[in-house]
Structures are given as C-alpha cells and as structure tokens.
C-alpha cells in the first residue's frame, strides 16, 4: 500500500473505526486512542497490507486493541459518555436511547459482533475473521445478542 492509499484509508475508514470503538467502549478518549493506535499499526505494516484488505485489517486491530483495554483495566473510565447529557449531535429518541443502553449492557463479544454486523454489514464469515470466531459462533452470538436487546427493550417498557 502506498502512502496515498494509506491516507485514503484514513478518509474512508477512520470514521467507521471511531464509531465501532465509541459504541463498544463508550469512552471518547479511549475511542480516539483506538483509532490512533489502529492506524499507527497499519502504517507500521503498510507495505504488507493491500488497500482491498485494509478495512477488515483495521477492524481486527481495533478489536484486539479494545480487548486489550478491557482486559487491562476492566474498563473503568472517567470519560464515559453520559448518554443523557452529551451533545454529540445525537438526537436520542426514546427507542434509540434505550437501544444504546441495551447495546451497552450486552456482553462484549455480543456487542462486537452485532456492531460489525449492523454498522458495517459484514457477513458471518467476515466477522469471524475479524474476531477470530467460527462462522457458527458468530451467528450464535448475534442471535443471542438480538434476543438480549429485545429483552432489554421489553424491560424498558418503551412506547412503540
């Protein structure tokens, strides 16, 4: 990959990685760090990565970095976003508010696969390559994740 292609990856995928990290970690600073470190890793291996394979490569790195973060400090942060207060140009509807909280309540692996599935529209196979899971494991985690989301929404007794 050339420097120009690397910079193109920054334009194309940094937002995606940022959304993935922020939705997973709910920590603005940590999400920014993940993006920075992810692209630093890409830059270090820029000669070995093709433009076509860069996106899953980036997500794989970002996912591993987040796993490291969670393992290191079980993720206690003072920078966690207060969904009710932060004004990151979100306009939370009732359903979106609860869905975001529901997402945050999921086990990390379920959250990861659901985000990759819905945000990036990856196939089970592609998610498996990013997360190191088998295709069937990915499917099971996604199905259980959706059931948990639905159960959370029922508990929240939201108006439809």
């Amino acid at each position: 990959m050339t420097t120009g292609e690397y910079n193109k990856c920054v334009d194309l995928y940094s937002d995606n990685i940022f959304r993935f990290a922020l939705s997973s970690m709910h920590d603005m600073d940590a999400a920014n760090d993940v993006v920075q470190d992810t692209f630093m890793r890409l830059w270090q291996h820029v000669e070995k990565v093709n433009l076509d394979s860069a996106k899953p490569y980036l997500f794989k790195i970002a996912n591993n970095l987040m796993i490291d973060q969670f393992r290191k400090k079980k993720f206690e942060s003072t920078n966690q976003i207060d969904i009710e207060k932060h004004s990151y140009s979100y306009e939370y509807t009732d359903i979106k508010y609860h869905l975001d909280k529901a997402l945050n309540s999921l086990p990390q692996i379920q959250k990861t696969v659901v985000l990759l599935r819905d945000y990036e529209e990856y196939s089970y196979e592609e998610i498996g390559k990013i997360t190191g899971l088998s295709e069937s494991q990915v499917k099971v985690y996604i199905y259980r994740g959706r059931k948990n989301l639905k159960d959370y929404l029922i508990e929240a007794k939201i108006e439809l």
């Binding site: 910079n7 993006v35 199905y143 639905k150 929404l153």
Partner: protein
C-alpha cells in the same frame, strides 16, 4: 409333491413360468388325475399391484414447514424473528412466523421490538483528527532513520551498562563471540536493564539511577571509546565515556520501561574526547538519547517537531532490531573494537585490552 392341499402354489409358479420341465410334468400328471381343477388353472392369473398408483395423498401435510436449527435459549418465535431481522428467512419460515406472531398481542409487540434491534450507525459520529493520522512520504524516512538512531543509542547505553561484566575475561569472550547476533546482545542488555533496573524503576526510580551511576563510577573509562558514524557519508563523531559517566537522570521516554536512561553527551565537534577531555566536557552539548535522536533526524531530514512527535520510540527500536548487525574488529593485539550497524547508523566501542 403336488396334491390337493398345495396345488395353488404350483398353479402360481406355473403361471409365473418358474416351474422346471420335471415339475411341469408333475403338474400335468396331477391335472390328469384331478380334471375338476383344470378350469381353475385356466382362470388362474396372478394379480400385480401397480405401486405407483397407490400413495398417501396428504403427504404434504405431514412435512415440516420449516427446517432450522434452534439456538439454545431461543424459542421458535424468537429464532424466526431474528432470522427475519438478519434477512435470512425463507417464505415458508415467514409464514410460520406470521402464524406465531398472530397468536398473541405480546408476540406482535415482540416482533416489532426485534425489528428495532437492527442498529444503524450515527453518521454524525465522526473522527475529527483525520489529518493527524495522515502521513507524508517523508515520515517513513523519518521512521526508518530515527529507528536506527534510537536503537543505536539504546544499544550503546546497554553495552555501556555491561562494561563491568566485560572486564571479566570469560564474559567478555562470550560477548565478543556473539557476532552477527545483535539480538542476543540486546536481549542480554534488556534483561540486565529491565530485570535489574526497570522493574524496580516502577518502585524506586531515584534509587536505580543512583545505583547505575555508582556502578558506572567504578569503571575505568579512559580505555573505552564510543563512536558513531553515519554509513552513507562516513562522518564519524565520538561520544565520550567520560561524559557518559557524568550525569545520570531520568528522561521521559514514551515507554515506561525505558524511562531510565542516562544522558548521553553528544559531541558535535567530532574530535575524540580522549584527547580533548577537558575541552569537550566544557564544550559538549548535553542531550538525552531522545534529544539526540531528534537532533540527528532533524538534521538529516529537515522535519519539524510535529512530524517527529508522531513517532513512537519503542516502535522505532523494534523495527531497528530487524536490521541490526554487529561485528568485532581486532585493531591490534592490544586494541579491540565492537561495531554495531543499524541501518544508516553505526556505533562502535573501542578499548585497549590489558
């Protein structure tokens, strides 16, 4: 033998043509004796059933309408609802789902909620610092060049740490025999430094600094000369062990484990400190290893602080180790030199043997 109790079986075999000639003869003899049965043979025709014409006409009703795996913890309705969200549902499954959904108002609400579990990214959520991530072509050169300098500085420091060991002939020989394997030297240095100092750094940096300084003070430095040169332009400049020994302080490396490195005094004059010790001490520019790296990289590549700040020291060292070579030079029977080449940078240590 054929008789009036078993003649039907003979008739059947005869009609199917499975009797041999002898048996056929016996059958004919039997009919001569029992003429009343002749017409029965004439009317005997086997009945063949047409299997294809017979069937259960409602087999479709027996079939399972859907065939899918059930994931533990999910019931049929939940399974099908998620299949629908995942856009992985067949027409037959959809029919079953509609049937199950219609059974109760709760199911209808659940079905709607399942549809809501499909997340959509908020495109307003954007990474604001894209420009900081982008690279200029020169940065790769910076990385390459700086990594070399970084590793060289660290290696010479580590080898400096091992001077005391070098004074032991056996250890010295082992070190010298490690030609072409700089990683051994580096591991040794890292182990010595990290296990002996870095771990304790976390607890007592000041104490470690003092220990290193005290160890260094015991070494007779006058016989050891450090030099570095840039391979491409053959400039050679010296780092005085005398100066190495003068000031030890903590510097702020990015990596915590490397936060204890003594100041290395870089002598810009290029003159040997061994011959001009007093002057060079006074005229030298005291630099930390990091400052030394920055200075050399800036000189080489003409970059600014912002570009340089994007480089992580440990990354540089890791890259540099892959391109490191070490060699021993016997200058004479009394003078020896170890040279370390890392990319475009070469460091050497020269000393006189006893």
């Amino acid at each position: 033998m054929i008789n009036r109790q078993n003649y039907e079986a003979w008739f059947l075999d005869y009609s199917e043509g499975t009797l041999n000639p002898d048996e056929t003869g016996h059958l004919m003899d039997f009919l001569e004796l029992n003429p009343d049965l002749k017409h029965e043979l004439d009317e005997f025709k086997p009945i063949y059933l047409n299997a294809e014409s017979i069937g259960y006409q409602k087999k479709e009703s027996l079939k399972k309408l859907v065939d899918y795996e059930i994931i533990e913890g999910l019931d049929e309705f939940e399974m099908l609802s998620i299949k629908k969200v995942e856009n992985d549902i067949t027409d037959a499954e959809l029919s079953v789902l509609e049937h199950l959904t219609a059974l109760s108002a709760d199911r209808k609400k659940e079905a709607v909620l399942f549809e809501k579990t499909k997340l959509s990214p908020d495109l307003n959520m954007q990474f604001d610092n894209k420009n900081d991530l982008k690279q200029k072509n020169t940065l790769r050169l910076i990385f390459y060049y700086t990594s070399s300098v970084a590793a060289a500085v660290l290696l010479i420091f580590f080898s400096y740490q091992n001077i005391k060991k070098d004074l032991n002939p056996q250890v010295n020989n082992e070190l010298l025999s490690s030609n072409n394997n700089i990683k051994n030297l580096n591991d040794q240095a890292l182990n010595a430094s990290f296990s002996d100092t870095a771990e304790s750094n976390m607890q007592s940096d000041a104490k470690s600094v003092k220990r290193i300084k005290n160890n260094s003070d015991k070494i007779k430095e006058q016989e050891v000369q450090y030099s570095y040169s840039e391979v491409n332009n053959h400039q050679r400049e010296d780092i005085s062990p005398e100066l190495l020994n003068t000031d030890v302080k903590e510097i702020n490396f990015e990596n915590k484990n490397l936060n204890l490195v003594p100041e290395i005094h870089y002598i810009s004059s290029g003159n040997s400190p061994l011959t001009q010790q007093n002057n060079t001490i006074n005229n030298s520019i005291a630099l930390t290893p990091k400052e030394f790296m920055i200075k050399k990289v800036k000189e080489k590549l003409d970059i600014d602080d912002k570009d340089y700040s994007r480089i992580n020291t440990m990354d540089m060292v890791n890259v540099a180790l892959d391109k490191t070579k070490m060699g021993k030079v016997n200058l004479s029977s009394q003078s020896k030199e170890i040279a370390v080449n890392i990319g475009p940078i070469s460091f050497s240590r020269k000393w006189n043997s006893e």
